[in-house]
């Protein structure tokens, strides 16, 4: 084992400040409409923050490289899981064999029948309506 690394206080403070700043970014970005990218940005910022904590506060950066490998492996497996799962959702209903599975599921969700459709800001959107049912007049 290599000797213990002593981290200067300054590094800790810089990292803490960065974390606070990134928290701010998370809040700020939630007000900006990036469409589907919103979730991606939020996750990236969160991953970055978690990594900073692991690398500096938990000393992963100066630790045995095996531990770093483990950390990167967990990120890799998470990446595999999300990528392949989303690939499935993206291609659902390809070849047109099951047309009913083709549309994104949440557009047709009953949940959205009872609430007026809104965009991410909560503004109502006009219903391009063919997948809405007769019972719409109840509202």
């Amino acid at each position: 084992m290599s000797e213990h690394h002593i981290t200067p206080l300054r590094t800790y403070l810089i990292i803490a400040a960065t974390l606070l700043f990134l928290s701010g970014v998370t809040v700020w970005v939630s007000y900006v409409d990036l469409g589907a990218l919103n979730i991606v940005v939020a996750m990236l910022v969160a991953t970055l923050k978690a990594s900073l904590v692991a690398f500096f506060f938990m000393h992963l950066l100066w630790d045995d490289k095996k531990n770093l490998t483990m950390f990167l492996m967990s990120l890799m497996f998470f990446g595999i899981f999300v990528t392949i799962t989303l690939l499935d959702t993206e291609f659902r209903g390809d070849l047109g064999l099951n047309p009913e599975t083709k549309d994104p599921i949440n557009k047709r969700a009953a949940f959205y029948d009872t609430l007026p459709l809104t965009d991410t800001h909560g503004h109502p959107v006009d219903e391009h309506s063919d997948d809405h049912h007769e019972d719409k007049d109840h509202h």
């Binding site: 497996f77 392949i84 959702t89 070849l95 599921i105 949440n106 969700a109 949940f111």
Partner: protein, 540 residues
């Protein structure tokens, strides 16, 4: 050996508290072993009830509802309470430190905590039974599992808790393998069982968190109405299956890798031959663990998954066959021209080779998407996974128990009875499950309490042989326990099979509370049967 009643971990220290609060890996392993066998019998009893219900069409013994509960509990108990925790927990715990020459695992307290977490989770699962059961199947598929009024919550909570035990054990084993080996015991000198535990542990710590998340998401949807899986709330039911199988396919390797490890120990010892292709076996363990993460979609071919994903998953599934085949051929080549002896452990190892090969190959059939569309959710799948889990894992587990029994307890069982029971398991198993392949091919769906007239013959065969199988397993286990009563003690220095790994060469039977009376010094590799020293030093 001056004192006749030598100290060993079984008799020292004494008292019930010294067991309940023990930090000794061997005692913890024993506690896992007994609870595991208890659940094995409970799950087995439920299985026999189901089989007798299926002896004839119609609801003869139990109603449809009870049947639904029975197969759910059978699956959940066998998988989550027996196979996954108990095999690494029992044999892994008892053997790992002995095999690497350590006094204990890296974190003994954490090890005890794992056991109690497991017990705590098991309480929830048992509560489910008293409280009227759960009827979703062990997979808890949505949307039914978010709607069923049966005990989905206590059962999933129990599984959630047991998952943490699994993660902590995995962590402990990895740390032990990295840090606790004696000097000179390099990676390529490790017994292959240790490699197998290493692969298992990696899968445990990387996959199990996903199971925990899945169970949490299920509860979030049930209790808070957050739309994750329910389309009515904007969720996606197929997403549940992605989550579940992202854990549960790797989990089948948590079940089978330790079994591979056991077989890699039994075969060279009972063939008196150096293992063939040590590095092939070691690395195929790691590659199975890795590829296992890329194939989960083969459980979802009929779920409405995209065709694109089906093709990708089907294609990658075939690759699992490569490292698996490498192992099978290595074991066969190890026996080739060896002095194979038909001892009880070897009987189980040979059964394993035969049964696991059938199970693995039918897995490849099912991995072919075009075929699986027809076979999915039929008895063909039921037969496949029993061939790998019972014919593979449980048979290897029984073999391992017979192999290390004299080491762990210092007593020898009746070997003739053990051999007869092993034969009974082999025949009873094939009699029970082979007809199920045929049933599946003819269209008998799984998870039904009754069936069409045309299936009577095969079903009644299956039921008949399941009785033989049950009796044989019972005899095998009772024969082991009988050796305690019979007190057929082996000499503390004995090495009945002539093993060359540290647990055989440097510890007494049963081992000292601190494992090694003096620091062990490595003199040779784990399977150096080609060297003369064996004959001189270890053969009795």
């Amino acid at each position: 050996m001056s004192e006749n009643t030598k100290q060993n971990y079984l008799n020292h220290p004494k008292g019930i508290m010294s067991w309940l609060m023990t930090l000794d890996h061997k005692r913890i392993g024993l506690m896992y072993l007994f609870s595991g066998i208890l659940f094995f019998f409970l799950g087995g009893l439920i299985a026999l009830v189901m089989r007798f219900e299926l002896a004839a069409p119609g609801n003869d013994i139990i109603s449809n509802d009870v049947y639904n509960n029975a197969y759910t509990l059978h699956g959940a108990i066998m998988i989550f309470l027996f196979i996954i925790p108990a095999i690494p927990g029992a044999l892994g715990n008892i053997l790992l430190p002995l095999m690497v020459g350590a006094k204990d695992v890296a974190f003994p307290r954490l090890n005890l905590a794992s056991f109690y977490i497991y017990s705590f989770g098991a309480l929830f699962a048992m509560y489910t039974i008293i409280n009227g059961g759960v009827d979703t199947g062990w997979t808890f598929y949505t949307p039914y599992s978010t709607q069923s009024t049966s005990n989905v919550v206590p059962m999933t909570l129990g599984i959630f808790i047991i998952g943490f035990s699994s993660i902590l054990t995995g962590l402990n084993f990895i740390a032990t393998i990295h840090k606790m080996r004696i000097p000179g015991l390099t990676w390529y000198k490790l017994p292959l069982f240790v490699w197998a535990l290493y692969g298992t542990s990696l899968v445990q710590i990387t996959a199990t968190p996903v199971l925990a998340i899945t169970m949490v998401l299920l509860m979030l949807e049930r209790f808070l109405g957050i739309g994750i899986f329910d389309p009515a709330l904007g969720g996606d039911p197929v997403l549940y299956q992605h989550f579940f199988w992202f854990y549960s396919h790797p989990a089948v390797y948590i079940m089978i890798l330790p079994a591979f490890g056991i077989i890699s120990e039994i075969i060279p010892v009972h063939s008196r031959k150096k293992i063939w292709g040590y590095k092939f076996i070691a690395y195929s363990t790691l590659s199975i663990a890795f590829i296992g993460f890329l194939v989960w979609g083969h459980h979802m071919f009929t779920s409405g998954q995209s065709v694109f994903s089906q093709i990708v998953f089907s294609f990658i599934t075939y690759f699992v066959g490569i490292p698996t085949g490498v192992k099978i051929f290595s074991w066969i080549l190890t026996m080739y021209k060896g002095q194979v002896s038909f001892t009880p452990p070897m009987m189980y190892a040979l059964s394993f080779l035969f049964l696991f090969t059938i199970g693995g190959l039918t897995g490849i059939f099912l991995g072919a998407v075009a075929l699986d569309i027809h076979l999915h959710d039929t008895y063909f799948v039921v037969a496949h996974f029993h061939y790998v889990m019972q014919g593979g894992t449980i048979v290897a587990f029984l073999g391992g128990l017979h192999h290390w029994w004299p080491k762990s307890f210092g007593v020898m069982y009746n070997q003739t009875v053990a051999n007869i029971a092993a034969l009974g398991v082999f025949i009873g198993f094939n009699g029970t499950f082979f007809p199920q392949f045929l049933l599946g091919l003819r269209g008998m769906p799984r998870r039904y309490a009754t069936y069409d007239e045309q299936f009577v013959e095969l079903h009644s065969y299956s039921t008949f042989w399941s009785g033989i199988l049950g009796i044989s397993i019972f005899i095998a286990v009772m024969n082991l326990f009988w050796s305690f009563i019979k007190k057929n003690k082996v000499d503390p220095g004995s090495n009945p099979w002539g093993g060359m790994t540290l647990e055989w060469t440097h510890t007494s039977s049963p081992p000292h509370p601190h494992n090694f009376e003096e620091d062990p010094v490595l003199q040779h590799g784990p399977y150096d049967y080609d060297k003369v020293i064996v004959e001189k030093t270890y053969k009795k």
